[in-house]
Symmetry: C2
Subunit: 370 residues, 2 copies
Amino acid sequence: MAPNPPGRGPEARGGVANPPVVTRSPEVGPDRRVTFRLLAPKASEVTLTGEFMEGSRSLQKDDKGVWSVTVGPLEPEIYNYNFIIDGVRTIDPNNPHVKTGSTAFTIQSVLEVRGDGAAFYDGHGVPHGEVRAHWYESKSLNALRRLTVYTPPGYDRNVQGRYPVLYLLHGANSDETVWTRDGRANLILDNLLAEGKAKPFLVVMPFGYGVPPGTPAPVSGGGPSDNTALFSRDLIEDVIPLIQSRYRVYADRDHRAIAGLSMGGGESLGIGLNHLELFSYVAGFSAALRPAEFQKTFAGLAANPQDANEKLHLLWIGCGNQDSLFPAARSFSEFLTEQKIKHTFRESSGAHTWINWRRYLNEFAPLLFR
Amino acid sequence: MAPNPPGRGPEARGGVANPPVVTRSPEVGPDRRVTFRLLAPKASEVTLTGEFMEGSRSLQKDDKGVWSVTVGPLEPEIYNYNFIIDGVRTIDPNNPHVKTGSTAFTIQSVLEVRGDGAAFYDGHGVPHGEVRAHWYESKSLNALRRLTVYTPPGYDRNVQGRYPVLYLLHGANSDETVWTRDGRANLILDNLLAEGKAKPFLVVMPFGYGVPPGTPAPVSGGGPSDNTALFSRDLIEDVIPLIQSRYRVYADRDHRAIAGLSMGGGESLGIGLNHLELFSYVAGFSAALRPAEFQKTFAGLAANPQDANEKLHLLWIGCGNQDSLFPAARSFSEFLTEQKIKHTFRESSGAHTWINWRRYLNEFAPLLFR
């Protein structure tokens, strides 16, 4: 495809509503079979990887240089996928829906397959909350950082009311926008609230790295504990005070929850279970956990399980049994059982994907602040 | 590069802060020369296009299969660019900063070259406003749509105060997030406010299409006027009432401005100048305009220039003289002069890029609501 004409970028087009003709990809058929296409006469090999299948599939080239492959039928769902063009893993350049994050490892194209009715993550005819982005100077990290806040429908008008808060953490290579962009957290909560299935609460989604991704964590040996320790300072010393000064929220542990996925699941369990003076609901979704370090990381729980059980209104562990992190999640549940710590262990199907994390939020949110 | 390991996506990494090793691209040297790299042993041709140069440059392959090219030195700025890999226009897969929009035509990688000091679009140590996303049901278009709102620092605490509003429109193939993502509108305004150079006001950034991009506009001949007409209904019948019900804003024409870039510039001039009962400040940045239709589109102005001049506090037209839309902008200025309509025509250097649009906002915002 030709580069932009000189002096005129993609925003031009003379006010014409229709974009230039592109190869249609992905195309979802009425039977929910999906065709992926790429115009690449000079390429020698194009393959597809995606969350809707194991392994990869080769695309076949026709006599016009259009590569294509059809998969499915697929279940209605939101899937991520990549093209590999002559060995280069990249996006589907004809699909405007791109998943990005804090590192290039996260860049994927997004395929949404719709079902006959609305999904729990669709924004259909219900009242909608707001999603706010805050830029703030983190004193503990000496950095300009950003966080995302969901306020439920009616928050602005309910000027006398106070709300509980869920702190919700993203995974590795991602950022503070992913829970609303790919996770649809706001639409999931809008729908639960409209159906009377959840209490109204704020969701605060901070940036979960203590140091920029790709840069080494400073001092004391490096590794994940340093990142969690640095992020923990930002959360406790900067984020929670900022939220409590800017929003009408309760400031006690009974009205504060923490949850996260993958790397953020490791953070939510590590921070939440070591700060029961701050949090009473704690969850890990497909959490990144190190069984060899359970005794050390969670020494406080083991020392006084009765106190922990009194303070924890809910400890929820969810993982898909096709996730390579599943054994660690099961080990953690067994560790908790040995230590006589009450908890819910939710074994689901599926792997390490947003498919599960959207579902876990949809299951977990109704249990909060009851 | 291998696809994700089965059952474990990019969000895993066991809580380790460092992402997988990738080829470093783009790399900005201390002399502001920039090297682009791509590991692609099987590719036969890789080229680079970007806003920092005319035309394209070929990358050269080394014996390890890494393609590279160095450009510059470049002026400190934010630039968009693409790789063309064996004829396929795509992103730099090693760069996490991706510009997306409402069509695939907008997908580009983003290169930021920093200077010695802070730029006017950098978020440095100043108070920060908030950026809010609203999902709303547009009654006029019968669709779930989204808009973005910037509130200046202190808006939430200043519960007695009211604010003026700038409605700020995006270009073709883009969406309601681009003015804060690529345009840095919130940071530009934070900085202007901190320096006392602008009055505090809200910025409302709606989705500027009346129909989803890529779908034909319904009825009456098609084309841009239909899109503008449909979007105009959403703006006037849904967006403005929503903003006035949710925010503490003035609801009179003296406190309402409209501006936009490219397609959105055509919209802001077409809507604003035909609704002087609603708007008193109107601007087009590199606007998509059709000189053959000036007499028809702006018949109201020509009919009563004295009334227009009394009502318009500011009519501002900006365009880069390397932009292919520059002749249309100059023609519009000449048309306005012929009709005796007071206005500012700002000829800048540069082309049809965000480089100019950030600068225009930075110049235009201080002129508002004086």
